[in-house]
């Protein structure tokens, strides 16, 4: 559940009322194979979240959603060459900014990937831990839905980030390295990723149980 909403009070009342109406209007079912609508919604949401998680934890996404003081690169997520570092704003340092090499679009002729506003995700959005291990589904979901950590994004804003942000979109148009081979793609297409996000958001962005670090 998202802990706060930016939607206005009237819409909350409407939703709440609808919720109550649903509860009242749907008496407990005699057919025991069917779970309650709220449980359905939650389990749909969790299923959708699992799909989202598989994309977030694709190696190329982690290369920028990194817990380190430097970006990583490649499917094996090795340290980015030439000692480039995160810098104070995730944009590198003078002389060695991300923009020193990465332009607004892929440069296949030189092997440099590129997209609008190339930079690292903030450390709060790291999808690996300090030991370079993937963070758990529960952990990432918890962080993603914490508006004090996620740049104050609510469900619709998260959906917009996943579905429309240019830099995020680079993941599906990663360009070619100098070998001429296209860089690997996430396990879902962008429309599928957006759809999974939408279903997760519609379900109230449920998170799987478990402590952070599980």
């Amino acid at each position: 559940m998202i802990r706060s909403r930016t939607t206005g009070p009237r819409s909350i009342i409407v939703v709440f009322a609808a919720f109550v109406v649903c509860l009242v209007a749907s008496p407990p079912q005699a057919d025991q194979s069917k779970a309650s609508p709220s449980a359905d919604r939650r389990s749909d949401g969790l299923a959708a979240w699992q799909q989202v998680y598989t994309v977030l934890t694709h190696q190329r996404c982690i290369n920028c959603h990194t817990a380190t003081d430097y970006p990583q690169q490649g499917d094996d997520r090795h340290r980015h060459f030439a000692n480039v570092v995160r810098g104070p704003e995730g944009r590198g340092v003078p002389g060695l900014h991300c923009a020193t090499c990465h332009q607004e679009a892929n440069a296949d002729s030189t092997g440099a990937p590129g997209s609008h506003n190339w930079h690292l995700a903030p450390l709060s959005m790291a999808w690996q831990d300090q030991n370079d291990q993937l963070r758990s589904s529960a952990e990432i979901c918890s962080v993603l839905t914490d508006r004090s950590k996620n740049h104050d994004l609510d469900g619709p804003a998260l959906l917009k980030h996943h579905a429309e942000d240019q830099l995020v979109g680079w993941a599906w148009e990663p360009g070619r390295g100098l070998s001429g081979v296209q860089r690997t793609l996430p396990p879902l297409s962008r429309p599928q990723f957006a759809d999974a996000t939408r279903r997760w958001v519609d379900a109230g962005t449920p998170c799987p149980p478990g402590k952070a670090g599980d």
Binding site: F81, V85, P94, L96, C101, S109, T110, A112
Partner: protein, 154 residues
């Protein structure tokens, strides 16, 4: 082939070339400006560093088609900039160069650092200069020259 109007060292220069040509080779081969060097072609060494719209940029990595009308400043003109001049003078007074091939890039990176961070710490220097290779190994003298330049600029 396409024609580009480029802004190089404050001058308008026109080139007609393959859009995929890196800026490095446009500078060196089309414009005969060989101060910017080819060291690796994959942005690992920094010898090709120029400033594009004030940002240190590895020209081997950027196709000319992506430059647009952004200003490009190369080693040939950086001495006209007050920070550039002080840096070049520090490099000479501290006898930094050996073979000298990497030094155009080193100087361009150092100028980018000092323009942004006029009083760099050792860590600032290591991070900003940390992606430039000097095969001869002049790193200790580069550090000294940057510090001297910073003092000069106070």
């Amino acid at each position: 082939m396409a024609t580009y109007q480029l802004n190089i060292n404050g001058q308008r220069r026109e080139v007609t070339t393959d859009p995929s040509t890196p800026l490095l080779w446009v500078l060196r081969d089309d414009l005969k400006m060989t101060g910017t060097k080819y060291g690796c072609g994959v942005s690992a060494c920094g010898a090709c560093t120029v400033h594009v719209a004030g940002v240190a940029t590895r020209s081997c990595m950027v196709p000319v088609s992506m430059i647009g009308d952004r200003s490009v400043v190369t080693i040939e003109a950086i001495g006209q900039n007050p920070v550039g001049k002080v840096v070049q003078d520090a490099w000479v007074s501290h006898d930094v160069v050996q073979c000298g091939y990497c030094q155009s890039g080193q100087i361009m990176s150092a100028v980018a650092l000092l323009k942004h961070t006029p009083n760099p710490t050792d860590k600032n220097i290591e991070e900003s200069m940390g992606g430039n290779i000097c095969r001869c190994g002049t790193y200790p003298r580069i550090r000294q020259a940057i510090k001297a330049a910073a003092q000069q600029l106070q």
